[in-house]
């Protein structure tokens, strides 16, 4: 039995070799000849429940894309993929993950998998509800309100501009009270400032 400290020391000693092996093409996530036998932890219960063994489907793009479309049923508001890779105490998302894998292995398309789970759990399971019925309002109302706001703003501005034009016929200038005339020093400063800006 190797204790923990000995294991870490051994690991550090073996590191250069491990790096060399990796650079020769060690497999991603796969076992390599220089790995150590995984020792039992002193108290595995401190890590919470044991995880399902990893499978090649854990990072499968099809499985991940399906899981990202579906909400975990534990009530966390996260999608299945995020929940199972974030909340390690959740028992719902790993179970749903197993189901998704089983259905994908069984040859079902992503749409079939999503439809099957939604049929069982209800439409609330979808991260993005289908754009039909009242859900359509969910997608359209913000855009409609923004468009209405923009149109309202344009109409208001247009009315204002007409009012300005009506105030000052002929010139289009705004009626303003008489303005103070600048003194010589201010004129000189203005001239230099204008030169600077123009340059």
């Amino acid at each position: 039995m190797i204790d923990r400290r000995a294991l870490v020391r051994g690991a550090l000693r073996a590191l250069p070799f491990a790096v060399a092996v990796r650079s020769l093409g060690a497999q991603e996530g796969g076992a390599s000849p220089d790995t150590l036998q995984a020792d039992l932890l002193r108290d595995p219960s401190l890590l919470g429940r044991l995880r399902d063994p990893a499978s090649e489907y854990d990072n499968d793009p099809v499985v991940v894309s399906i899981e990202r479309r579906l909400r975990c049923t534990c009530g966390c508001t996260l999608d299945i993929y995020t929940c199972r890779t974030t909340d390690f105490s959740c028992t719902f998302s790993p179970a749903l993950h197993r189901e998704v894998i089983a259905m994908v292995k069984g040859g079902q398309t992503p749409e079939d998998v999503v439809a099957a789970l939604v049929a069982r759990e209800g439409p609330a399971m979808l991260m993005a509800p289908p754009a039909r019925g009242f859900n359509l309002a969910g997608y359209l109302v913000p855009g409609l309100v923004m468009a209405s706001g923009a149109l309202g703003l344009a109409a208001w501005l247009s009315r204002r501009r007409m009012a300005v034009a009506a105030d000052s016929p002929g010139t289009g200038a705004v009626t303003s009270p008489p303005l103070p005339a600048p003194d010589a020093e201010q004129m000189e400063r203005l001239r230099r400032a204008l030169e600077d800006v123009e340059s």
Binding site: R4, L7, V8, L12, A14, A18, E28, G30, A31, S32, L36, Q37, A38, D39, L41, R42, D43, L46, L47, R51, D52, P53, A54, D58, N59, R71, G75, T77, L78, D79, T85, T86, F88, G122, P123, A124, M127, G133, F134, N135, A137, Y139, P142, M146, L153, L157, R160, D167, V174, S176, P177, P178, L179, P180, A181, P182, L190, A193, D196, V197
Partner: protein
């Protein structure tokens, strides 16, 4: 002490009610002593609530587990600094925290407001007292909301603080966010006071402007620290999940940002008075709405307090306040007529209007998405939530439009921009944007939104640089100053303007960081000791992570299982990274919560390598990890610092006084006979 705390709550509520009654129903205008008495009511309520706060903190520090709140949120082995933060960790304590801070702000508003706005202060005290009495009333009458509630027995130890709250981020995030929410009450109080007193010039705006800036700054800091906490603590590798409680903090921030821009139009041109009052009222209502969302449990959120009927107190308060405020606004509608007219859509005022449209539009769309579960349940009986995909689809284009306006606004002249002005102002920023675009295309970036985002960040950055450069050069010529002195004087004499530009740079950095998130890569792996996994970075690097093993040890109030990975980038070792599982225990060694996860992060300006130790499949050192490469995340935190610097610069006291309260400004500048200039 609980008796004293209870007594202090009752005293605060009664003082608040008395102050409000005097302010609103007694003619104090002709009785200076009564007006003084009303303003002193704000101080008295503050004193009473400080006593209540001391009583609760004493219970927390003396481990008085007979107090239900102390037993629920602390334990004997909880570090002392978390005994301080436990004050706001739960529903009851956070309500008291809210009331205490509001009372302090209410008292400070009375002390710090210049005497020329004295006639508004009794009304301000009245409004803050109503809000204060409401919060204290919730504690006294809400089901299980009194922080001084006692248990029928005294447990030997408390349950302890939720492990996710035992994090430096949670020391600062809730109080700063609360400070933002709470301080919104002061601008709201000044708006209502101005309406009641019929003092509808720009005086009330000048009196409350720094409060509005402070609210905005606190909200910004609170939101940013919340993003940091979510990133380093929750383990999903992101900063923003469009969770209802997260959204609730964004609503008032958006409308307050809109107000801080549109108020400039009112100060400069006497326009948008109704809109500005409406924005302040709306911002306050949104802060109460956020409290309702957080405390009612009506919408599922990972951040909510325990579901209770307290939320419905807030819903009722929300409706009553909305009806009263908007009715008051309606009765003063004619007195809020604009003093000037908009002359051109192509003007600074026009840009601010579009900016307001975008900000309020985003606030509405976020609110709509947040409330959609309630609406859908009302319509077809099922709570349908819209996820991040909805929020991103709606808000990303609006956010980019807003970023464009951030660059366009400073470039356009007030009143009406001439073609020559536009040409002169836009050439450099447009070139800046195009150069950024070409650079990104050269690096092979093809995704539409990231390209647009980075192009606009280039545009806005050059806009800000141009504004600073022109100002410095003008000062160097006019005052014969060197560049550094000119910069210092330029910023010092125009703190709002140039502080605002610094804030814009902070916002640009946020956009850069958000753009980076679009390129994140992640995978889950299971590794035996000395086994390696590789992950590609979006920059083309290959990270190789070698699992070194899992060590278990006891620390403070927890047992730690630490998994360590050795990290190499492109074959070169760059260090190690450690992620932990923590099982918290009470002082008798009994587990108190489910094991929590501490992520491991290696961060640089380009990207973060983010590792989460998920656990073991067989009780051995065989470990499962989630590995994420997150580009540009550091720029969130740098952007946050820049934004705070800009905000502080804007708020810094002193500098030229704005006398807009007492004058009408029909036109900026002098009437200049141009012929004489060219002579």
């Amino acid at each position: 002490m609980t008796l004293l705390g209870d007594f202090a709550l009752w005293a605060a509520m009664l003082i608040g009610l008395w102050t409000a009654a005097m302010a609103f129903f007694v003619p104090w205008q002709s009785r200076p002593a009564l007006a003084t008495s009303i303003t002193r009511g704000a101080h008295a309520a503050c004193l009473a609530l400080l006593v209540a706060a001391v009583a609760l903190w004493r219970g927390l520090f003396t481990h008085d587990f007979n107090i239900e709140y102390v037993a629920a949120y602390t334990a004997r082995n909880l570090p002392d600094y978390y005994l301080v933060t436990a004050f706001w960790a739960g529903q009851k304590g956070s309500l008291l925290f809210w009331a205490v801070v509001l009372s302090i702000f209410g008292a400070l508003a009375q002390l710090l407001t210049p005497s020329r706005h004295r006639d508004l202060l009794p009304y301000v005290a009245g409004v803050t007292s109503v809000v204060l009495a409401f919060f204290v009333g919730v504690m006294l009458f809400g089901d299980g909301a009194n922080p001084f509630e006692r248990l029928p027995f005294t447990p030997p130890d408390g349950r302890g603080l939720n492990p996710q709250l035992q994090n430096p981020g949670m020391i600062a995030h809730p109080p700063t966010l609360y400070l933002g929410y709470i301080s919104i009450t002061i601008p709201f109080a000044f708006a209502i006071a101005a309406l009641l007193a019929r003092r509808l010039d720009t005086g009330w705006i000048i009196a409350m402007r720094k409060w509005a800036l402070a609210s905005w700054l606190f909200l910004s800091i609170g939101i940013t620290i919340g993003m940091w906490w979510a990133y380093i603590e929750l383990g999903w590798g992101g900063v923003w999940a469009w969770d209802p409680v997260e959204n609730a903090s964004l609503h008032p921030w958006l409308t307050l940002t809109a107000f801080l821009h549109s108020v400039m139009i009112q100060e400069k041109r006497g326009m948008l008075k109704r809109w500005n009052v409406g924005l302040v009222i709306g911002t306050f209502l949104l802060s109460i709405f956020g409290t309702f969302i957080t405390r009612s449990g009506v919408i599922a959120s990972v951040h909510s307090f325990t579901q209770s009927d307290v939320g419905y107190f807030f819903l009722a308060f929300l409706f009553v306040t909305a009806i009263a405020s908007f009715t008051l606004l309606y009765t003063r509608w004619p007195a809020l007529a604009p003093e000037a007219k908009l002359e051109s859509m192509l003007s600074r005022e026009g840009a601010f209007l579009y900016n307001n449209l975008a900000l309020v539009g985003i606030a509405f769309s976020v609110l709509w998405g947040t409330l959609f579960p309630i609406l859908s349940e009302a319509v077809h009986g099922t709570k349908i939530s819209v996820g991040p995909a909805f929020f991103n689809r709606v808000n990303v284009p609006l956010g980019l439009f807003l970023l464009l306006l951030t660059g366009v606004g400073p470039l356009i002249a007030w009143r009406k921009a001439s073609p020559a002005n536009l040409r002169r102002q836009f050439i450099a920023p447009t070139l800046g944007g195009l150069v950024t675009l070409a650079t990104m295309l050269g690096f092979g970036m093809r995704a539409f939104y990231p390209l647009v985002s980075l192009t606009l960040t280039g545009f806005v950055t050059v806009t800000v640089i141009q504004e600073f450069t022109r100002g410095v050069r003008a000062r160097m010529r006019l005052h014969a100053e060197n560049a550094l002195l000119a910069l210092v004087h330029l910023v010092g004499r125009n703190r709002r303007r140039y502080g605002g530009y610094v804030v814009h740079i902070g916002i640009v950095l946020y956009f850069i960081a958000f753009t980076g998130m679009a390129f994140r890569t992640e995978q889950t792996v299971e590794l035996a000791p000395l086994e390696s996994a590789t992950i590609e970075s979006p920059y083309g690097h290959t990270y190789t992570l070698t699992h070194l093993g899992v060590s278990q040890y006891a620390a403070l109030n927890r047992h730690v299982s630490a998994a360590t990975l050795d990290v190499a980038r492109d074959g070169v070792r760059i260090g190690s990274i450690k992620s932990e599982k923590r099982q918290h225990v009470d002082s008798f060694g009994n587990p108190t919560f489910e094991p929590s996860t501490e992520v491991g992060i290696r961060s640089d300006l380009r990207e973060d390598l983010y590792v989460v130790f998920g656990g073991t499949p067989d009780g051995t050192e065989r470990a499962q990890y989630k590995i994420v490469v997150n580009p540009l995340v550091s720029w969130f935190w740098i952007g946050g610092v820049v934004l705070v610097i800009g905000g502080l610069l804007t708020m810094w006291p002193g500098g030229p006084q704005i006398r807009a309260a007492r004058r009408i400004m029909p036109q900026a500048g002098y009437a200049v006979p141009l012929a004489s200039v060219s002579e």
